[in-house]
Symmetry: C2
DNA sequence: CTGAAAGCGCTTACAG
DNA sequence: CTGAAAGCGCTTACAG
């Protein structure tokens, strides 16, 4: 094992005190340019990379940010959000010299517990909050710990900042589009109950229908998986009163719905229009290509990371917003077929 | 800011020395059961979670494992491998009390550099090596540092262990299946040049054709994206000699190919058979459902994490294997249409 | 079985 | 501008 070289070695080699090495490398004051240059050159020559262990203990900064994903590990594969979000986060952490500490909690309770240990053990300088539920217990923890945090697509709290992409206007526009085409029986395939974004989407669906004086079509409760979408198709297409349009809370469920509808011999969009939500890449490649609302997980990740980093540096609590999600009209929507009464 | 409570506070409260607290909590020897119980009770009551900063500095263990993904951040969203792999990794790290440090390098060079800094800064106890290229410079670094590491789907080195899922037999079986159906003109849409798994898949395609004395159909070089698959369709379906089957190096390219073929009015599988590789969830929902080879990124992640953890605990270098990838025959393959000569 | 002390590798006042 | 010293919160020999 090649012995690790430490700040002491560099100081000795450069003929200065370790405090000077530290100041020189960190851009601190109290070092002449000549000394700074010499130390830098020596450190580079020796290939010294400061120990994050020593540094984090004395500086109270770990230079790492935490993300505890609350999902079943197996579900993550199909999830359209996290890869994009993490990509966005990483693109800013990279230049800031921060690392991302990722953990997965199988349930909301497990996730909250892992977050608690992560925070209490001092492993991270701040955390991202995703999959926020309506009364999320993590807010209280973070408020109490005063740990910098940013909630994604959720309100934030007294202490926790937030970064949000408006999903309501895009979904609302999609609903208006369906109604303008003549749809009157519009069903909803909802997401996992209790999550902020599930409730929000269902609420938009309901509000737009009510504002037009239209009946609330049936609601099938799903869980954001393709399988749930397929089950919803069974439930909605087998009944006596088949809706003319089905608004799904995400693309995966819409794709499952599409696939099952085809198997049942129901034509999309001729017999029933189907819409998704998220804008996953593959939505453009299913048959028919899926009309949906395009979200931007990557942009959200970028902004969230910037906000969190600012917060770690002592910045104030903020609530930010990125450009709203917009409708992408492809081919899974058409005017309703005229039917017998 | 609520003052962090430390081992000193717990020791004082329990009326013992800090070394006893440490030994009691870590299950070390030299503590009576009575003391151990009392310390545990005190620590729990005070809500003390040991500082990973202090602990990692003195123990030389950070209890974190590193993964530097070499991808463009934007590409990650469509990637079928990482979410599953990370899910598998996390399921074992969770119970082991380890964390995953994730970084993204935009290129192989950037990734190697981030890995170097990660290793040299002592931020992790071991690393996963993915997207291994044919002459990967990271092996030399890891061998030199003697940092525990496990290469995924690649050979490993003198020091680095490996965990592999056999991809050759499944792809080979798929090729045999096509040939048995009567295909003689089989093209290949290859992956990013230089990567171990790109080369491997192309090599299987070539070997099976050669062993049957069949001509090597054209090879289009792609980069594993849907767009590359679409471009390959343009190149292969527009030419004078259209192959009867196209073997793509991954599902995403196959799905792009499918989509473009449909736009060009070429029927799959009637006019041309198309196959993918990976077994992404959505391959079952495209039209026609994609025949492919099913890999198991989650199982690979689980095994890789187990191997790496064993290695961190001083275990020997190993080369392990999980169950091979198998053919999933769906509907994008059929016998070739009889054509005029 | 128990406790006082050294040490991990840095940063940060503080004194020269 | 420069350097010696304390201290961050643990673990690990070592002595009692």
């Amino acid at each position: 094992m090649p012995k690790r070289i430490s700040i002491v070695d560099v100081a000795r080699e450069a003929g200065v005190a370790i405090s000077s090495v530290s100041a020189a490398l960190n851009g601190g004051p109290g070092v002449s340019e000549a000394t700074r240059a010499r130390v830098r050159e020596t450190a580079d020559r020796m290939g010294w990379v400061p120990s994050v262990r020593g540094r984090s203990l004395s500086s109270k900064r770990t230079r790492a940010l935490g993300l505890v994903v609350q999902r079943q590990p197996g579900v993550l594969e199909a999830d359209p959000f996290f890869a994009g979000f993490i990509g966005g986060v990483e693109s800013v952490l990279e230049s800031a010299g921060y690392a991302l500490l990722l953990q997965i909690g199988r349930s909301a309770a497990a996730g909250a517990d892992r977050l608690r240990r992560l925070a209490l053990s001092g492993a991270v300088d701040g955390v991202f909050l995703t999959d926020v539920s309506v009364e999320d217990p993590r807010y209280a923890l973070l408020d109490h710990l005063q740990l910098p945090a940013v909630a994604v697509n959720a309100p934030g709290s007294v202490w926790v900042s937030s970064v949000t992409q408006d999903h309501r206007s895009g979904l609302s526009a999609l609903m208006e589009h369906l109604i303008a085409l003549g749809h009157r029986d519009i069903a909803h395939v909802a997401g996992t109950p209790g999550l902020v974004h599930s409730e929000e989407r269902e609420s938009v669906w309901r509000c737009v229908l009510e504002s037009h004086g239209l009946p609330l079509g049936p609601v099938i409760t799903g869980d954001f998986t393709t399988e749930a979408g397929a089950r919803a198709a069974d439930a909605l297409l087998g009944g006596s009163r088949v809706p003319t349009a089905v608004v799904c809370a995400n693309d995966l469920m819409a794709i499952g719905f599409l696939s099952r509808a085809k198997a049942l011999g129901v034509g999309v969009p001729d017999d029933v229009s189907v819409t998704g939500f998220d804008g996953v890449l593959l939505g453009a490649h299913v048959h028919p290509p899926l009309t949906t609302v395009m979200t931007l997980p990557g942009a959200l990740g970028t902004r969230a990371a910037e906000v969190l980093l600012a917060s770690v540096d002592g910045g104030p609590r903020v609530d930010e917003t990125i450009a709203p999600a917009v409708v992408v009209d492809r081919a899974s929507v058409a005017p309703p077929r005229v039917r017998m009464a």
